[in-house]
Symmetry: C2
Subunit: 328 residues, 2 copies
């Protein structure tokens, strides 16, 4: 890895293999619909397809376009609302299968007008974000069908639950959320009940498919949960300055997402981050030129800062995974 | 602006003009060395050069390379340490002027070995980050000269002071910081005393040049200070979902830096941000499809998420400024 310019996003190949294999063993095939927003890389999505998962979840139209363009358009779910779906209609026209989330009359109209043929009704299961009221789902489904859209079912993301560290609490709250979704599904019909994330992949027994994304690479936030996935993603950094009591590595706010708080430095305690620096207290003496691995607190918006991920094993770079699904 | 795909980074042309003009009037020519890390755009740097500033500050080697490649290499200061300066030596070889910060024997050696010819001694003035101890600056300068390097002076960034909202406190602390830098300068020699930022540009009377960057675009953090600069940068977003009590705009953690906390939404109060969403409570009723402007809390790592900034006036896009200095 010594040839890499730092900061560099590196992925432990063995940890990645472990994570993909563990998930595919628990939720094989279509029981898992990997969310590409976590890694934004068609190269990594290829690995997930090879692990047996036929469909993918996307968060942006650019992700849908990129996945279809890379030949991964067998069954793409855009789990988000858009008010102009023409770019998605063009992807459908190119032969890919695209299903779009809708939660309002306006987004139903956008889907139909934009040339999308299949939708799911997005249901609010407790997270104050997108999603219609559960009792409104049937009406929206009727509206969608009246516009000629195929309604494949429902989705409802329990995003306020997936990160809870206490498993019992997480389990109880998933049940509450999914009771709402199952009720809405009864009104809507269709085959799909799409929900879940890395924190609930094995306790959400109501969803027909789980939309987890973070499990492949992981971060310190999910690392605190009782999950069988290993930390695979690191920001490789170089120590550029050492003072009595602290050291400075050359990664910072432009290579690490900060919404979940500070990252973790192996062999030290983080004091604070600046644009291009992490100031930390090292556990053992360090020298200018030493390299350290920094573990991001939140995987998705960390990866989005980088152009490429380097796949490494035993300190050797064995592959490159471009982060080619950035932007909108 | 209706043609823009959201989220989109937009820059108010009049506010930008005001900010660049105000700074150039207060600190004309070489008294100001704009820091490109705040905007990462050679197109915006051209505007700063046209405002009369001959030199620029950079934070990364990629910024130095990009600025030189764009013909803006008259006097570039990399205000940061590197342990391998060969890429900078190549830029010097191409005819640009590059001055590198050094704060240790290792970084002095890296500068000399890499083909850099000019350095400044980086002095710790109170921020626990890079910079040598003030009393060590003279020795490092001697070491640099013994390696054949031209020592242009000192730099010392009062980064722990620039954001303080109380002007009197800020003023007092700048004096303390600069006393350290002036003392180090006496031991080092050279013409440059490089320091300061947007929060101290008009109260740091010891520096011969100010390294401010944020003043051009601004953010909510600097907006709380008593500064004459206007908010020029916004993330244009589309409302994609409306529920009783809240609405959701299509920008989030991948288009907004979060290290300074939540962004601000015009016409509403932010509840929380997700990867591609801002959930907020609107002041007045909003509809799906409405557009809102979101003000970033921290300019630098917000811009680094985007490929381009759109220059707008009276809701018309009048120009494009690529964010071409991203990466490392």
């Amino acid at each position: 890895m010594s040839e890499l310019v730092t900061p560099a996003l590196i992925v432990d190949a063995d940890a990645l293999d472990h994570n993909l294999g563990t998930m595919a063993a628990t939720l094989p095939g279509a029981r898992m619909r990997p969310h590409v927003k976590a890694h934004k890389s068609t190269a990594l999505a290829v690995r997930q397809a090879e692990a047996g998962h036929p469909g993918f979840t996307c968060a942006t139209m650019a992700e849908v376009e990129g996945m279809a363009g890379a030949g991964l358009g067998r069954d793409l779910l855009l789990a988000n609302e858009v008010v102009d779906a023409r770019r998605l209609g063009a992807v459908v026209g190119s032969g890919a299968r695209v299903t779009l989330a809708v939660d309002s009359s306006e987004t139903v109209a956008a889907a139909a007008d934009g040339g999308v043929r299949e939708v799911v009704i997005d249901v609010n299961v407790g997270l104050p974000r997108c999603g219609c009221a559960p009792e409104d789902a049937g009406r929206l489904a009727d509206q969608a069908r009246s516009r000629g859209l195929e309604v494949r079912g429902v989705m409802g993301y329990e995003g306020h639950v997936v990160g809870l560290e206490d498993r019992a609490q997480r389990t109880a709250m998933v049940a509450d959320c999914m009771a709402l979704l199952v009720k809405a599904h009864a009104d809507v019909g269709g085959d799909l009940v799409s929900a879940g994330g890395t924190g609930t992949y094995d306790i959400n027994h109501w969803a027909t498919e789980i939309q987890a994304g973070s499990y492949a690479l992981m971060d310190t936030a999910y690392g605190r949960l009782d999950l069988p996935f290993r930390q695979a993603l690191f920001v490789l950094s170089t120590i550029i300055s050492v003072s009595p009591g602290w050291a400075v590595a050359d990664c910072g706010l432009k290579s690490l997402a900060m919404d979940h708080g500070n990252p973790t430095v192996e062999g030290g305690t983080v004091w604070f981050c600046s644009d291009e620096h992490v100031t930390f207290g090292p556990t053992d003496p360090v020298q200018v030129g030493d390299r350290v691995r920094v573990v991001p607190a939140h995987v998705d918006p960390t990866v989005a800062y980088h152009r490429v991920m380097h796949l490494v094993r035993d300190d050797e770079v064995i592959g490159t995974m471009p982060v080619d699904l950035r932007g909108w």
